[in-house]
């Protein structure tokens, strides 16, 4: 089996428009959640979110590109450009054939759908732009990345709600580990902060009106965010031979299905995914120093996740750190695992553990070290990234320094 390393990373999210900006915000425990700004927001009960501000698509993409790129595709391309540039890879010849793009998204081009449904239903128009379909399709972002970088191997989009990015990165990992591919562009993107997108979530009544406070007894729900995280995964010997800078190694991955409930999470499903990732990477439990939690700030997730971590790690659960950066950037749904992987890389490379901000009061059912409010310096050997989706689909990645 081949070893798999990360040689490039890129992002745009509510905390920043590059990896250094994002990691600085995570170090400082800055909050990227604020008042939502879009048409008809006054008709919503939930008016906060992690919106990407100060991003001018017109300054990055030309008119023809904008006609084809939904916001989730724009985010993906920006992040992918940063990641591929950092990796230094050029996808030509055999490398192009042996590389692919696997990205996660849940809503795909939801803003495009929202705008065009509005045009035909509310405004009564009988004509829409010719590119509505290629703009809104879930695989648009993966396809545009393959075109921009000449990546010609296996490429597709994974949609598993809140676990989409982790499932996508897990697939990319397995493609390289098995020898099928040499390099993969992988991660995820989401952009559903529009009237229809937030209205749909409102219906579930699990959204907070004021803040995302994972693990805090005072938490009252999740907050949505938007953005993308994209990485270059590469076969270790290939990366070493060309002297690439290695940001981390992916050492284990596992997926499970709860087979139980369409929205309520399962302790067993979550713990099987966590222990599965450890088993996959032959990782001793006590080597895990940090877990980037799924940590949505809902009562159901946070209690279940802490119980699952306690089940898997036993007494070591009290020695490890677990934090939810969703408190800062919100829940990026299909892109969330990718942005959260940046906190994992920061832990491995800089020895800084991102905090869970907004933490006000301990909850006895979440009695773990959740790194409340301020970042912490700590050397960690192995980190995990959890993702547990609606529909009971779980995906956990394990990383270490190469």
């Amino acid at each position: 089996m081949n070893r798999v390393v990360i040689t490039g990373a890129g992002t745009i999210n509510p905390l920043g428009q590059s990896v250094p900006e994002t990691q600085e915000a995570m170090r400082e425990g800055r909050c990227g959640i604020g008042a939502l700004e879009f048409r008809d927001v006054e008709r919503l009960a939930i008016r906060i979110g992690g919106q990407v501000k100060g991003f001018e698509p017109d300054s990055v993409f030309n008119r023809q590109q904008l006609a084809l790129y939904d916001r989730f595709t724009q985010f993906t391309l920006l992040a992918a450009r940063q990641a591929v540039t950092q990796s230094g890879l050029q996808f030509i010849g055999e490398l192009a054939d042996r590389s692919g793009v696997i990205l996660g998204t849940s809503g795909g081009g939801l803003l495009t759908q929202d705008e065009n449904y509005r045009a035909v239903y509310e405004d009564g128009k009988n004509r829409v732009h010719p590119f509505v379909v290629p703009k809104l399709m879930n695989n648009a972002a993966a396809s545009h990345v393959s075109m921009e970088f000449n990546v010609k191997g296996p490429s597709f989009t994974v949609a598993t709600a809140c676990a989409s990015s982790n499932h996508a990165m897990g697939q990319a990992f397995m493609m390289i580990r098995s020898g099928l591919c040499t390099a993969m562009i992988t991660g995820g993107s989401e952009s559903m902060l529009c009237f229809g997108g937030v209205k749909a979530w409102e219906g579930l009544r699990v959204m907070s009106k004021d803040a995302c406070r994972p693990f805090s007894a005072t938490r009252n729900g999740m907050v949505q965010g938007e953005g993308a995280g994209v990485f270059v995964f590469e076969e270790y010997e290939h990366a070493r031979a060309r002297g690439a800078e290695i940001l981390g190694e992916v050492i284990g991955f596992a997926m499970t299905s709860d087979a139980a409930d369409i929205v309520m999470p399962s302790r067993q499903g979550a713990s099987r995914a966590i222990s599965g990732a450890l088993k996959d990477g032959r990782i001793a439990r006590d080597r895990v120093g940090y877990i980037n939690a799924h940590g949505t700030g809902t009562a159901a997730n946070d209690k279940t996740e802490c119980a699952a971590v306690a089940d898997v790690f036993g007494t070591h659960a009290d020695d490890l750190m677990i934090s939810s950066t969703k408190s800062m950037h919100g829940h990026l749904i299909g892109g969330t695992g990718a942005v959260e992987l940046l906190a994992c890389l920061m832990a491995l490379n800089e020895g800084v553990i991102a905090p869970t901000i907004g933490y006000e009061e301990p909850d006895p059912e979440c009695a773990l070290d959740v790194v409340p409010n301020t970042a912490r310096e700590a050397e960690v050997d192995v980190v995990l990234s959890n993702a547990f989706a609606f529909g009971g689909l779980n995906a956990v990645l394990a990383l270490s320094r190469a």
Binding site: R205, N220, G221, I262, V263, M264, A300
Partner: protein, 86 residues
Amino acid sequence: MNVKDKVVEIIAEQAMLEPSDVTMDSTPEDLGIDSLGLVESIFSIEEAFDISVPFNANDPTESDFDISTVGRIVEGIEKLIAEQKA
């Protein structure tokens, strides 16, 4: 149909029971209504009376709206109708 009968009808339909099986003392759990079923019932009630019910599914017991029994729900709805339709 008065408020009480309409609320009972909605809850009975959610629980897949006859309205006569739903008493004012019944709790959602007694009727086999889980958190998702509760969210759906509240939605139906909001639609039926054109009101807004302050209910957070994260922690129903902490919400401003008492859902401990059918009777409490009916009282709450009557109060909300009075407030919001005034």
